[in-house]
């Protein structure tokens, strides 16, 4: 986030974050000088081994785990696939039922769909209009053949934080393995595997200022899981493959930094987030806040702008035409997926009508974000919204208007003025 007038304002940190310069600095010696493999006995290898063990400790410290329960992977997608396929396979003898919710990340939903094709039964619990899962519904859906409950800690799109502790307690009482996908929370809000009651927990380095292509899975001692990557004896034979030493060192450094900065970051971004909500409601018409107002990630803001479409908002913001204007990078829940413009399944799971989901804007901030940048971005968003609404054939056409939104009642559309 440079300070020159023309530099971009990056507000898509839920997709990926800048690699912290301290992290890059920590990685460089392992890219440039010591390239040894930790599997080897000679000095270069031992140093690499020490480096990854120290990264393991930093990461364990960040999430309240023992370091021997941390297994490095290529990212949360791998961790999630590993959990779903590996626990399913390890526990298939006990049963073939898994519980999750409708608003999960694709790296959870797609492996589950795959299991369904192979005869597994998956319960997709609904979420309420704020995106929350009801712990009672989790309890009610547990069956004798349930072997896994997997819940995202915080949703990547709307930032809603699930009642993980409650769900964890229910899982423990029922003897069902409990997996938490903490890709969006680790490094941003306190995550403690014990407090959450997690048996397994996924995370990804690049979501909290670490490198891309590296992540981890926490596996509580005693939890049975079949490897996803079979092969060499790395990671106690549970995850094969030559260690990505620079990546792992970077992940460890990101964990160390997060342990230091997390609370301050959450405070700072939390107030900016609330400021944004207030500003948007004050200054933009026909806008709706998505996700829970308080139980949400401090760095996440999501709202829908009636009558316009997200990709065009995003493009207008990122390629501004005015001389000297700063590009603003945000994301939207309106994505062009293979041939049709599909609104995010997460927004739809809230009960939101598709046309509103198409108009959604996600702002996700990084630590150090400034009020100045946010003000700039907000003015830009308001201007773009105005311009696109002028272009829109449906905005304020007068025949339909969405009143206060409530999932159970749906969008209350009525003929208006």
């Amino acid at each position: 986030m440079g300070k020159s007038t023309n530099s971009a304002i990056f507000l898509d940190n839920a997709a990926t974050t800048r690699t912290d310069p301290e992290v890059v600095a920590a990685m460089l010696p392992w890219l440039e000088q010591n390239f040894g493999s930790p599997a080897t006995l000679y000095s270069m290898g031992s140093e690499a081994k020490q480096a990854i063990e120290s990264a393991r400790q930093s990461l364990a410290g960040l999430i309240g785990a023992e370091s021997k329960d941390i297994f490095f992977t290529s990212g949360a997608t791998e961790s999630n696939n590993w959990v779903i396929k590996g626990v399913a396979e390890a526990r298939a003898g006990k049963g073939r039922h898994i519980i999750t919710n409708e608003a999960e990340h694709h790296s959870i939903l797609m492996p589950l769909r795959h299991l369904e094709k192979k005869g597994w039964d998956v319960t997709y619990l609904p979420v309420d209009s704020d995106g929350l899962v009801d712990p009672d519904a989790v309890a009610a859906s547990i069956r004798p053949d349930t072997v896994l409950i997997t819940m995202v800690h915080a949703n990547h799109e709307i930032g809603t934080i699930q009642p993980i502790t409650e769900i964890g307690r229910i899982a423990r009482e029922s003897g069902v393995a409990f997996h938490v996908n903490a890709a969006q929370t680790v490094g941003h809000i306190p995550v403690d595997v014990q407090a959450l009651g997690a048996d397994l927990l996924s995370l990804s380095g690049h979501k909290f200022y670490g490198p891309k292509g590296v992540g981890a899975l926490y596996i509580k001692r005693g939890v049975r899981i079949i490897p996803l990557l079979h092969g060499g004896s790395q990671e106690k034979k549970r995850r094969a493959g030559t260690h990505n030493v620079p990546g792992i060192v970077g992940l460890g450094e990101a964990a160390r930094i997060a342990s230091r900065d997390l609370v301050a970051e959450a405070d700072q971004l939390g107030s900016l987030r609330d400021y944004i909500f207030a500003w948007v409601e004050e200054n933009i018409e026909d806008v709706r806040i998505n996700g829970h107002r308080r139980r949400r990630l401090p760095n996440n803001v999501n709202f829908s702008l009636e009558g316009i479409e997200g990709e065009s908002i995003m493009l207008s913001l990122s390629y501004p035409t005015a001389e000297g204007a700063r590009p603003v990078f945000i994301s939207t829940g309106s994505a062009c997926v293979s041939g049709s413009l599909e609104p995010s399944h997460i927004l739809l799971a809230l009960g939101m009508p598709a046309e509103l989901a198409h108009g959604s804007v996600r702002i996700s901030m990084a630590k150090g974000e400034t009020r100045e940048e946010i003000d700039y971005a907000l003015e830009a968003i308001a201007a773009v919204a105005g311009r696109l609404r002028e272009m829109s054939p449906v905005y304020k056409r007068g025949n339909k208007k969405c009143a206060a939104f409530d999932k159970t009642e749906g969008c209350d559309c009525e003929a208006a003025g």
Binding site: G307, I308, E309, G310, E311, S312, L315, S316, Y319, T321, S334, C336, V337, S338, G339, S340, L341, P343, P353, A354, E355, H358, E390, M391, S392, P393, V394, Y395
Partner: protein
Amino acid sequence: MYSEKVMDHFQNPRNMGEVENPDGVGEVGNPQCGDVMRITIKVDEKEDRIEDVRFKTLGCGAAIATSSMVTELAKGKRLDEAQEISKKVVADALGGLPPQKMHCSNLASDGLRKAIEDYRSRHGN
């Protein structure tokens, strides 16, 4: 993802708005699908030519750019010529569209055709 020409039409759309007292109106798409295009035309009756054409569009970058391009291509054309403007013609004129945008967000030529039909039905042919 988008060609320069697409970005140009997206950023500086031509003929945005509504023709006053239009002779024909065509609307296609569906807000639930994230794409609605509304094309309005003014027809020079003697020449059977499109005198003016404007668009209003809700949609993604491609939807806006193709709308803008369709109006550019249609303006001044005879109605029978304008009716020949296909999705492919529009996409080619824009230097191509990403494959996944070829169909969903490239409805403006349908909108134009609808507007012409609307004009013809109102004028009895």
